[in-house]
Amino acid sequence: MGNNDQVSVVVTGLGATTPLGGDVASTWSAMLAGTSGVRRLTEDWVEPLPVKIAAPAAADPVAEVGRVQARRMDRCEQFALVAAREAWADAGSPEVDPYRLGVAVTSGIGGIGSTIAAYDTLRDKGWDRISPYTVPMLMPNGAAGWLSIELGAKAGAHALVSACASGAESIGYGIDMIRSGRADVVVAGGTEAAIMALNIGAFAAMRAMSTRNDEPSRASRPFDKGRDGFVLGEGAGVVVLESLPHALARGARIHAVAAGAGYSADAFHISRGAPDGGGVSFAISAALRDAGVEPSQVTHVNAHATSTPEGDPLEARAIETVFGPAASGVVVSATKSMTGHLLGGAGAVESVAAIKALTDRVAPPTVNLDDLDGEVAISVATAATPLKPRPGSAGPMAVLNNAFGFGGHNVALVFTEYVPAPLAASPEEA
């Protein structure tokens, strides 16, 4: 912990629904196996678009949420509910004082499917046929609101929006809620459901997406020379964050320490990352400092790496800058090679993956990395790779998750292995 007067925050619950599986276990095993969730889209609306591939969620959220509730919730809110229920159950469904339980769950875009559907209804049938649930379905804080209702969380429900950094930023905010004393437990994460014509058209208009339509599973290829853009995915990731004393008092199983978060803004261009990677390396360094973690403790980075020509080498340079010559000892994985890019869900799902890598001591592969970009000098895992404490490591093993968003938002999160404190001799016996 960076600052000794702050309470430690630990992760006691994990939940995810992704293109690889409807829960954490199935997602993680598919990830370790190097499975791609990218498919050729078959809907009619794909026809005029230059991009005909995406990574749809493996499990239909309506099956979990229920038909009636699903009428009132955007698909992104449904994903968040599914992932939050899993995370909450994984945490042991703790009894928490409602005013000590918070929510920090968000989305990059919000309920865009509901926005589009409502507009179609407005145009074709008139305003009075628009679903009266449209506003709560399209607002990007909708998932936070629904989860506060689901869990009875009254300490505050927050939805920070920073495009594709939103999920990671929410976890950082959740850590802060606990450190600042506002909550004992926070359900934090991100969600997205944006696989539809407007979004694909808009990202394609930026020339940001892969058009490798004939080889869907080969299209998302972070750090590979042949990469030509990102592939859109959907789903959600949620973690349960808890103050260490609260977790210990109830005998909770602790996955990891949510040790720190670092932020920066590029202040450079609204959608391009600053080419020198300065903003990214600042965020990573700030996260390590906040966590009180030395670079030598870090064994694994779940990179943001979206498979765009500009973004991936920029991040690689930043990792090199922060870790210096030791960067070669850090196993970097780009799991978007399998899940596609979940936008506001990405930082949360990838934090879940980073925590699983830490607890299982294995980094997932980066698939489709056939020919490493010559500008990339870090070691990217192409197969599931065991993680071992590095020689001369100053403390418990640590992993890093990066997430960056249009707007110039950079977020880095550090998770460390939880090492129980040695039992203190009781004062009577001492």
Partner: protein
């Protein structure tokens, strides 16, 4: 249309929109207190009823329709 037919049609709508099983939609039930239907769902139900029965339910009338029987009476009187 008989009251019985209106009730059956209304029960179908309420099942679709609010997930209340048709056999629970009996005339004496209050939408809010008994069927747990909120004001947003009542708007949906009113629009669906308009389509099904061809009877427009103005907003100022809708707020006075508290029970299933109230809606059946309204539709019956105005169709």
């Amino acid at each position: 249309m008989t009251d019985q037919e209106i009730l059956a049609g209304l029960a179908e709508i309420i099942d679709e929109i609010a997930g209340v099983p048709a056999d629970e939609v009996t005339p004496d039930k209050n939408f809010v207190d008994d069927l747990d239907i909120d004001s947003l769902s009542m708007v949906e139900i009113a629009v669906a009823a308009q389509d099904k029965f061809g009877v427009e339910i103005p907003d100022e009338q809708l707020k006075d329709l508290k029970t299933v029987q109230d809606v059946v009476n309204f539709v019956s009187k105005n169709s």
